[in-house]
């Protein structure tokens, strides 16, 4: 806030911001609230308990779904982040920036239902082609390559998450000066060493943020996973099917809350860490040395 700004306008902006956050987070907080109710959703009487949290690990279906989701999230993150990083580096290097941005962000402009359906049809056709190829060659090892399952879901999730990873990493990369890479090369570093020693430490926060974001997106995702997953269930698909068929169980509320706690703690932790770091950097930057003098 500058010296001439209206203090009430400033406060109103903060109030507006908090209202938006509260509106967005209210459903999540409500689920958390229910998860601690002994009598579950819709009960007239609220009795505080942590029992449902103890039971979530005994719900075999939910735990299986959680394991699959975790596997998908980790695999997708491990593959998406290097791809997003490479894409961001390519973007910085190329002159055709508009084309790169368009290609990388294109998946965001296609409705998830349409993209998922398109991928479903695509994978089925590719799978049939490989099966046909295998039959012709008299081999069967290609039959399952593109059968709906873990691989196809991961591909779908990569397409979904890579634009976000690209943008998050690119934002951190924006402050990086490529002359530092050249300086490292002039010191004798190979391209890889220059990246690892000099550039990566400066964009690490962006890479970690993008990783956390990708993990969370994988946990959130329903449409793509439900169409591409094949024979297993993910956390979200279990929750949704429970909701549609029999209503959510108390353990599901607890599990949803648990995942939300983890996500909020993760993102909050990154934000707090980043803020503390930039404040510390600003404090360090204050006692800048006196103007240079000629040495004796």
């Amino acid at each position: 806030m500058d010296d001439y700004a209206n203090i009430w306008l400033h406060r109103a902006k903060w109030a507006y911001l908090l209202l938006i956050v509260a509106t967005l987070m209210s459903p999540v907080f409500y689920v958390m609230y229910i998860s601690f109710n002994e009598n579950g959703f819709g009960a007239a009487q609220y009795v505080f308990t942590t029992r449902w949290y103890g039971l979530i690990f005994s719900d075999g279906q939910l735990m299986d779904a959680l394991r699959w989701t975790l596997g998908l999230a980790v695999t997708t993150t491990v593959l998406t982040i290097p791809m997003g990083l490479l894409a961001a580096k390519f973007y910085k290097a190329t002159r055709a920036k508009v084309a790169v941005v368009f290609l990388l962000l294109a998946p965001l402009f296609v409705a998830p239902d349409i993209l998922s359906a398109a991928l479903l049809v695509f994978f089925k056709n590719v799978n049939l082609s490989f099966q046909g190829l295998g039959d012709l060659a008299g081999v069967s090892f290609m039959d399952a390559w593109f059968r709906l399952g873990f691989t196809t879901t991961v591909i779908g999730l990569i397409i979904y998450t890579i634009p976000y990873a690209f943008v998050v990493i690119l934002i951190t990369m924006g402050r990086y000066n490529k002359e530092q890479t050249e300086a490292a090369r002039a010191c004798g570093a190979t391209g890889w060493r220059a990246f690892w020693d000099i550039e990566f430490p400066q964009i690490r926060a962006g890479v970690f943020s993008a990783s956390a974001f990708t993990m969370i997106l994988c946990f959130n995702e329903y449409t793509r996973t439900s169409l591409l997953k094949g024979g297993f269930d993910t956390f979200t698909t279990v929750l949704v099917s429970q909701m549609l068929n029999e209503g959510m169980s108390e353990q599901s509320y607890a599990m949803s809350s648990f995942v939300s706690f983890v996500a909020i703690a993760l993102i909050g932790g990154i934000i707090v860490f980043t803020l503390l770091r930039s404040e510390a950097a600003a404090r360090r930057a204050q006692p800048v040395a006196e103007p240079n003098t000629v040495p004796a």
């Binding site: 002359e179 530092q180 010191c187």
Partner: protein, 364 residues
Amino acid sequence: MNTTTPAVQVRQLCKNYGSVQALKGVDLSIAAGEYFVLLGPSGGGKTTLLRTIGGFHKPSSGQVWLNGQEVSHLPPDKRPTSMVFQAYALFPHMTVLGNVGYGLSLAKLPKAEVRDKSMAMLEMVGLSGYENRRPHELSGGQQQRVQLARALVLGRNILLLDEPLAALDAQLRKDMCLELKHLQEKVGITFIHVTHNQEEAMTVADRIALIADGELVEQGAARDIYRTPQRRFTASFVGENNLLSGNVTAVEGDTVTVEVCGQPLAVDRRDLPVRAGETVALSIRSELVEMVSADGTAAADGCSLSGTYAESVYLGLTLSHRAALADGTEIVSRVVGESDAPDPAPGTAIRVQWKPGALRLHVN
């Protein structure tokens, strides 16, 4: 290394960016231990040339030879060069000591040796006691010294400096110029320094090459470039030269007569291929021009022009008197020191004159 082998040789070097020719067949030879400056206007190709020598650009055609070896195909980390950048090239997440020792660490030297050499180099550039600071805790000049230390500690025999003083204020730039010159004399390696600042170039250079429009316009000792520019562009870029345009009316032996604003001027031919009727350029440094009243003592024949006084500009050490010739061409006379005599009123008829031999001929 054979001491007669040039440290740097550039042969017919071309660099194209699409349809833009940044370098157009540049030939250059720089001796070992020389302080060589690439001087020229912005966008002229001097940084492209330096970066091509350093391996940051691949030549479109032509060759780069360093210490007698062809290195055009090698990346920067495989060349015997180190580099100081204009600014922002220190590693912000490392301390000053970490920055200086980075290249030595890459060379897998023992940690103690890396530290000792880095500390010695910091002492050489006057930054002892700063080793634990981060780059953002240093002033601009100190940051450039760290860059110097980081480059020099590698022990390579060619140092490339890409406008290393451009981000510094005027006084600091002057101080650093002298420091660079003394440092080069101390370490004895080849320095190739890019700048668009002629004062900076004059201060440090053993030799200067003028680069403009992707071409090497002229090269020579700093004094020669300033005092006896061969090309019209050099005269226009280096120093404060008056440039006149005129027609050759006679060529007699070593003397050429050129008519400027209807007045004949005599100029040394300098073995240039010039014919009567040709349009040529003449240059004369402003400090060699004397401005006198129209009825004052006349200079030798062919060494003066009449005009009208315009104004004077006080520059501290010098005073510039500006006048206009009959065709509107501005001519400047620069004098050192101050005079109590009042300046002529604007519009007063005056005469500008010079000693024989001060005027220089340039042909296209």
